[in-house]
Symmetry: C2
Subunit: 233 residues, 2 copies
DNA sequence: CAGTATCCGATGCGATACTG
DNA sequence: CAGTATCGCATCGGATACTG
């Protein structure tokens, strides 16, 4: 059976929004992803088939509009006004998840590529120094499933931030060495940056001024500062 | 595969919230339903098996708490604080649905029992006269699937409102005759009460003062007053 | 790379029957 | 009434192979 057989606005909204993967596809679109490959990077476990199908459904529902790229191959997927007005729903849902669902940091669910891709998106560029800063990340205690991704580079400039999975060739200014799980916890707000350093799960090396400034460039997850009811009570 | 394999708060929230039927079950709980049968009345198409399964999942997630009824049989299902904090998500989702999804009033999706059950919940009791008012509803143009439910009674008192599917025996004060689809459209805010009367889709008969006051008792759907972008532009 | 077509296996879910 | 146990099927979705 398709749909809920009700004309209640909540029910019809759910028929569009509450399908499997759909809220996460919208999360990616509203975070700025526009191309098929970018969407997949943010949704590592979705299959190409299903992503294509969901994008078509969203387009039929008027939530996404797509058009061929000028480059000839592939399409650009753009969220419509209807999608933009779902941002509030998604943000509230995320805040609720942060408050009420204890995420599994047990590393089953850890994808460092996706994590660093998100970190890249949440750099406070206005706080960067005028010159380019290259940060090398080296991960320790990486879950066996993720061998092959032991580190990456973040190239920080006021004009834009790049994530490199291979050595971009620039001289490295800062070296960040960290347990995979510690990075995740800091990102999620479960542990503060200074506490992570104190506990030894994370270390930053380089010129003193850059080391000191580095944490202030990280905006962390949108939900890092949502307070947790268990923590509060 | 179960879950999204991400620790993003949006993803974990979706694993709890965005399952099939779950938002609608929460809608019913937050609207005041507490018993299995009440929930089913608001979700006519869900199977008992699935409703029971979802309630168990919600209880495991800490969103619902249940306990046996003092009467011995059946349980009471109570939304927890976590559920209460989903109200904002559900309300926003409903407002979005009202704005962006054109509901199908084609009567495929029309369940008069559920509709009147909702009407009952949205009576502004403070506006009622001091004495009891009994309203008889007679439906016209009822879709064939729904034969057998041609009308009902609403017993309005300041102390409470009852919906009767069988004649409660009281003397009738007001007679409302209406097309099933017209009632639905008025409830949803797609058409105003006076317009429905003018178009002939709805008629109210009885003492003049009661007829005049009647529309003011109806609060209509929570989303009846959300403005529609198509209508606006 | 950016998808589409096809196949087939897992599972989600309804129907039915049963219990207190 | 308020559920639970079981069965069987439909559909959802992943894997694979293919196209431009």
């Amino acid at each position: 059976m398709k749909g809920y057989g009700q004309f209640c606005p909540i029910a019809v909204a759910c028929e569009v929004f509450a399908e499997r993967w759909t809220p996460l596809i919208l999360r990616e679109l509203l975070a700025g992803s526009r191309r098929f490959g970018d969407l997949r990077r943010g949704l590592p476990l979705i299959s190409r088939t299903l992503l294509a199908q969901r994008l078509r459904e969203l387009e039929d529902a008027g939530v996404v509009q797509s058009r061929p790229l000028p480059s000839g191959r592939g399409r650009e997927y753009q969220p419509t006004q209807a999608a933009e007005e779902l941002r509030g729903v998604i943000d509230l849902l995320g805040a609720w998840g942060q408050r009420w669902v204890r995420a599994q940091y047990n590393l089953e669910n850890l994808d460092m590529t996706m994590l660093m891709w998100n970190v890249r998106r949440r750099i406070d560029r206005r706080r960067l120094p005028a010159r380019r800063v290259v940060v090398r990340f080296e991960f320790r205690a990486v879950p066996p499933r993720l061998r092959g991704f032991r580190g990456c580079w973040l190239v920080l400039e006021r004009t834009g931030v790049d994530l490199c999975l291979k050595d971009p060739g620039f001289e490295v200014d800062l070296l960040v060495t960290a347990d995979a799980a510690t990075i995740a916890r800091v990102w999620m707000g479960a542990v503060s940056f200074p506490d992570a350093v104190r506990s030894g799960g994370l270390r930053v090396e380089g010129p003193r001024d850059l080391v000191r400034a580095f944490p202030s460039w990280l905006l962390l997850s949108h939900f890092a500062h949502v307070d947790h009811p268990v923590r509060a009570s």
